[in-house]
């Protein structure tokens, strides 16, 4: 069965990381380019602060450079890297006193709704816009787990390790997150004016 993979899953990533562990800067360069945007977006989704997110991505990637030798191959490379980033993000949130932890509803409300586009089924842009707004109404936990399953394409066992929760909780949380997202999508699609 051929499912479309978002990041072109690459079985050679553990070998790439092994080269990083040997101190090969070009291997690190490749690893960096593979992960920079993904790690940044993940971190940003957790802390909602651009500057801080960039700092954390920098720290994460330096930790990857220095700690590549400790990668155990028991999970995916992406799980390992995102795990470092998550750990650092949660540390930063703790330092900030969690004030930016909750969903940024203002930012969600500011998103354009593309009301002046003629309706011919939902355009790509409109779908993206509605999906983004629907996502924005979900809890941080729901947003995070949907990203890990559907964008990072991680196995449920890896997600359980990454989030530090039982595999069964991963399954139920994804189920309810998807249910919640579907409800919000329906609500927003009905509100979308049709000319």
């Amino acid at each position: 069965m051929a499912m479309d993979s978002t990041h072109g899953r690459d079985d050679s990533e553990p070998d790439l990381l092994a080269a990083v562990a040997m101190g090969d800067p070009s291997a690190f360069d490749r690893t960096y380019r593979l992960y920079e945007k993904r790690v940044y977006q993940y971190v940003f989704s957790l802390i909602h602060d651009q500057t801080l997110a960039e700092d954390i991505v920098g720290e994460t990637m330096i930790a990857v450079w220095r700690g590549a030798g400790t990668f155990s191959r028991s999970s995916r490379v992406s799980t390992w890297i995102l795990g470092i980033a998550r750990h650092k993000s949660l540390d930063a949130l703790r330092r900030l006193g969690r004030r930016q932890r909750e969903v940024d509803l203002d930012a969600v409300a500011d998103l354009p709704s593309h009301t002046d586009t003629p309706f011919e089924g939902l355009h790509r842009k409109e779908v993206a816009s509605v999906t983004q707004r629907a996502l924005g109404t979900l809890s941080r936990e729901h947003q995070e787990i949907l990203r890990l399953v559907f964008y990072e394409e991680l196995p449920y066992g890896d997600i359980a390790v990454l989030l530090g929760i039982p595999a069964n909780t991963v399954k139920t949380r994804v189920f309810y997150a998807k249910q919640q997202l579907k409800r919000q999508l329906e609500r927003l699609s009905q509100k979308e004016p049709i000319s």
């Binding site: 330096i62 790509r124 993206a128 949907l146 990203r147 069964n168």
Partner: protein, 221 residues
């Protein structure tokens, strides 16, 4: 979060696995059992269709999200380049003894305690460097004769500054850490053989490296 820990009774157990059937990460046994179930269950087939569509829409949203600024890549890759060259020069020049110590120190550099440890280790490494490279007699004489000209600065380092960067900066100003860290994580750096002119230069160099040095002030003797 106030959601149940279990799925609603009417949901088929296979349905809970559908997100991972859609992202193609199930083990072969689970994948086959879901595939068999899908053959006979229209509800789960519909659910899988929804999930596949959702995965596609989410990829569109996430794919369009902004990237970090280009400076980030530059600063990270630069940091790695500096560390690489320091590692190499340590291997080439320092011989076995220094390289082995360096490697051991490096192994201690777990991310959480880098900044504090980096500075503590600097003292150790610098001392070691002196021990390895400097003739003892001469050092003693120099220390005495120019002690009055030693200039001191109170410095704190950025959290993300690496051991390599700090070491390179200290080499550049010909300084060494003589005290610290304090509770506020500041250190005292001593630069020998300074005059008022070179003091200004040193201060300017320290102040210019804001990515390494968080705070610097001159200490009056």
């Amino acid at each position: 979060m106030s959601e149940p820990e279990t799925l609603p009774a009417e949901v088929h157990p296979e349905a809970a696995l559908l997100p991972w059937y859609a992202n193609d990460t199930l083990g072969s046994e689970e994948r086959q059992s879901v595939a068999r179930h899908l053959e006979s269950c229209a509800g789960c087939r519909r659910e899988l269709e929804e999930l596949t569509q959702l995965k596609h829409d989410l990829a569109m949203v996430y794919g369009a999200a902004p990237s970090p600024s280009p400076q980030l890549a530059r600063s990270v890759l630069q940091k790695v380049a500096v560390e690489t060259s320091l590692r190499r020069s340590a291997d080439l020049q320092g011989g076995h003894r220094l390289a082995a110590v360096d490697q051991w120190l490096r192994s201690l550099f777990l991310p959480q305690w880098v900044p504090t440890l980096a500075a503590i280790m600097l003292v150790v490494q610098f001392g070691l460097l002196l021990w390895v490279t400097m003739p003892v007699e001469e050092d003693r004489i120099t220390t005495r004769s120019i002690e009055s000209l030693a200039l001191r600065y109170r410095v704190s380092f950025q959290e993300q500054a690496t051991e390599g960067e700090i070491r390179a900066l200290l080499n550049a100003i010909r300084g060494r850490i003589v005290d610290g860290p304090t509770a506020e994580r500041t250190y005292v750096i001593e630069v020998r053989g300074g005059d008022p002119d070179s003091s200004k230069k040193t201060l300017a160099m320290l102040r210019a490296r804001t990515e390494i040095v968080a705070l610097v002030e001159t200490l009056t003797p």
